[in-house]
């Protein structure tokens, strides 16, 4: 008997038999369509809240990272060039010339012995060493491979020549034009946001799923009328909620502590974050679709994330990598997310200008999601 036809009295009687009448609860309750989803999401959020490690790694750690790196790489007012002057005849003259030069504020000079000066230069404390010669000339020691050394060479030579009376052949003037968002911290915060979205999805979805599979909890859920789509949706939603909180925290932190300027609208930032979070949710799901042991999924997660940590411009610009690999780097989902976040936050670029990046994220997420559903192992 497959269906109960109301016209068939026997089937109806059987149907009545099947009703759980004798087992009716004392207080009947009726669950709506979204009861399961709501409870799953609620349970997931509670679990996260009760896991102190999660709070630390998801919320505190990125702030500490931003604070530490933001301070270490803060732009000093008009970079001071540190130089060493080797003591001896002529050293005093060099110091006086530097002091008298128009650039004196941007130069910090120490008089040291030959050995001390060289040591300081080697360890990066000085960008340049000035060695006065017996004939009254100066010899510069610099390292062409160190940008600050090259800069200092020009700057110091210019200062000494000007102070010694060189006339400029041409009148020139420079005007300060500081682009918003050009500091390292401005670069860093969107990168941290992107990285956080990736980490959260890979651990919070990928790892969490395999753990539930290992505990046989997935199998237990499967033995209920729970909708599988609700379960996956709840898991993804919990990541979106975390992403919202994370955007607020990191941007708020940047604005309050580092006076960061956020040019894009909050709505577009959140939209980009959502696309990124969904994309990585798909990738996390795919990573977790077969693994039975948390050890094996941990390896997989690191394998997926490591290239993106290195190449996707979290801590430094990927422009430094050779041109041949640039197309590959740009095709990575974290690159797309970081670039989109930077463009939106730092330049206020409209979403319409981000189509390519959003498409990259959507393709990664969509394909991963489809494959994950096909291969997913519930039990």
């Amino acid at each position: 008997m497959h269906t109960v036809k109301p016209t068939d009295p026997e089937a109806q009687a059987k149907g009545a038999d099947m009703q759980p009448m004798p087992l009716r609860p004392s207080r009947p309750r009726l669950n709506g369509r979204w009861a399961g989803y709501t409870h799953l999401l609620l349970a997931r959020m509670r679990e996260l809240k009760r896991e102190p490690e999660v709070i630390f790694w998801v919320f505190v750690f990125p702030l500490l990272l931003a604070l530490g790196l933001g301070i270490a790489f803060r732009n000093k007012p008009a970079d001071v060039a540190p130089v060493a002057v080797v003591s001896g005849p002529g050293a005093q003259h060099a110091l006086e010339l530097l002091q008298a030069s128009p650039q004196h504020a941007a130069i910090h000079a120490d008089m040291l012995t030959d050995a001390q000066a060289l040591k300081g230069f080697r360890v990066g404390k000085y960008a340049l060493v000035i060695e006065p010669k017996a004939d009254g000339s100066f010899q510069y020691r610099y390292d062409p491979a160190r940008p600050e050394s090259v800069l200092a060479l020009d700057q110091i030579d210019d200062a000494l020549q000007t102070a010694a009376g060189r006339r400029n052949a041409l009148t020139t003037a420079a005007k300060i034009s500081s682009e918003p968002g050009a500091r390292y911290i401005d670069f860093l915060i969107p990168g941290l946001l992107g990285m956080n979205v990736m980490n959260a999805a890979m651990w919070g979805i990928g790892f969490a799923l395999v753990e539930m599979r290992q505990r046989k909890l997935l199998k237990r859920y499967l033995a209920t009328p729970m909708r599988r789509s609700d379960f996956l949706l709840a898991l993804t939603s919990s990541r979106l909620v975390l992403m919202l909180v994370e955007v607020g925290l990191l941007l708020g932190f940047g604005v309050l502590v580092f006076h960061m300027r956020v040019l894009g609208s909050l709505a577009s930032i959140l939209l980009v974050g959502t696309v990124g979070a969904l994309s990585f949710a798909g990738i996390g799901l795919l990573t977790a679709c077969r693994a039975e042991k948390i050890e094996s999924v941990s390896g997989l997660i690191n394998l997926v994330m490591l290239p993106m940590w290195v190449f996707s411009g979290v801590f430094f610009s990927y422009e430094r990598f050779p041109a041949v690999v640039q197309p590959f780097i740009k095709a990575l989902p974290l690159t797309a997310l970081n670039d989109a976040l930077r463009a939106t936050i730092l330049e206020g670029a409209p979403l319409t200008a981000q189509g390519g990046r959003i498409l990259i994220m959507a393709i990664w997420g969509g394909i991963s999601f489809i494959l994950a559903l096909r291969w997913f192992r519930w039990v």
Binding site: P25, K219, P225
Partner: protein, 309 residues
């Protein structure tokens, strides 16, 4: 219409391990049915096929007139399941876990009511990770009951419980049965099967080797009593025929140096036994009599013990 019915059930894992080899069951509504068998007999495999969690290699399953192919979602509403091993989320409380499971069903029972029934009320707000083994086991049964099922599947619900918790769980199962529910459970414990189940199937190597009420199975031994003895001669096994000839003895077998007689009338057999031993010029070094149990049935059928520990 049977509550649970399966025909020709087979399961071969990875094309090699034949876990279930042709198994038929028919369980009536309101019955409490036990699958009894040693480790690796195929109990979990069987029950998980019935639960629709494993696909059988061959065979049909019908539950309450419905099949998994056609009525999966309906069936999920009607079944309550406790797996052999589940570790629930440790950072959720008992109440939260039950509320979560309740939310999956259309007509669940109230979590508070279930907690009361399973004596978990005291632990309602404790995290699952902080529960004792027995409390976790009861929670597993609670999650099975919260959906207000008609059929309850319990895979080794009392393994690892102390005698008191086991009895408590039996009460819960009986209560469910009284309200008209059907129960299928697996167990290693003879006494549990004897006291709790209306009918039992003894499973070994993926097949049912005996089936019936506990009394029927024990009756198949012939005698309802077992006389267990050893003599100083120590050669009991050599003259099994001698013991077989004693009055009231149905069958004889040796186990671990002891001779076991299945006996109908101990009061006739024992004096004869004493006389026979004396005739041999030997002495009894051990003698006990007891009611025959399912353990004896199992040993009788397979020559092995159910639990080899």
């Amino acid at each position: 219409m049977p509550a649970i019915e399966c025909r020709g059930l087979r399961k071969t894992y990875d094309g090699k391990v034949e876990a279930v080899r042709g198994l038929d069951l028919e369980i009536q509504p309101g019955e409490c049915f036990g699958l009894l068998g040693p480790n690796g007999a195929g109990k979990t495999t069987t029950i998980e096929i019935l639960e629709g969690l494993l696909a059988p290699t061959a065979g049909q399953v019908t539950l309450l007139g419905r099949t998994w192919q056609k009525h999966a979602r309906d069936l999920r509403e009607l079944l309550g399941i406790s797996l052999q091993e589940t570790r629930f989320s440790e950072k959720l409380s008992v109440r939260e876990t039950l509320d979560l499971f309740a939310s999956f069903y259309r007509h669940p029972r109230a979590a508070a009511e279930i907690m009361q029934e399973l004596e978990l009320t005291e632990k309602a707000d404790s995290w699952v990770g902080k529960l004792s083994g027995g409390q976790k086991q009861r929670l597993a049964v609670a999650t099975a009951l919260v959906g207000n099922p008609q059929i309850l599947f319990l895979d080794e619900p009392t393994t690892g419980l102390d005698p008191q918790s086991r009895r408590q769980l039996w009460e819960i199962v009986r209560g469910f049965q009284r309200r008209g529910g059907t129960v299928l459970l697996t167990t290693h414990y003879m006494d549990e099967a004897e006291r709790l189940c209306d009918r039992i199937a003894i499973v070994d190597h993926g097949q049912i080797i005996a089936q019936g009420t506990p009394a029927q199975l024990i009756a198949r031994l012939g005698g309802h009593h077992v006389v267990e003895f050893a003599t100083s001669a120590g050669d009991g096994a050599n003259n099994q025929e001698l013991w077989r000839m004693l009055p009231g003895v149905d069958s004889v077998h040796e186990d671990d140096g002891m001779l076991l007689l299945n006996v109908r009338e101990p009061h006739q057999t024992i004096p004869a036994l004493l006389a026979a031993v004396e005739n041999q010029g030997a002495q009894l070094v051990h003698l006990t009599t007891r009611q025959a149990s399912l353990e004896d049935v199992f040993v009788h059928l397979t020559g092995r013990h159910l639990r080899e520990d």
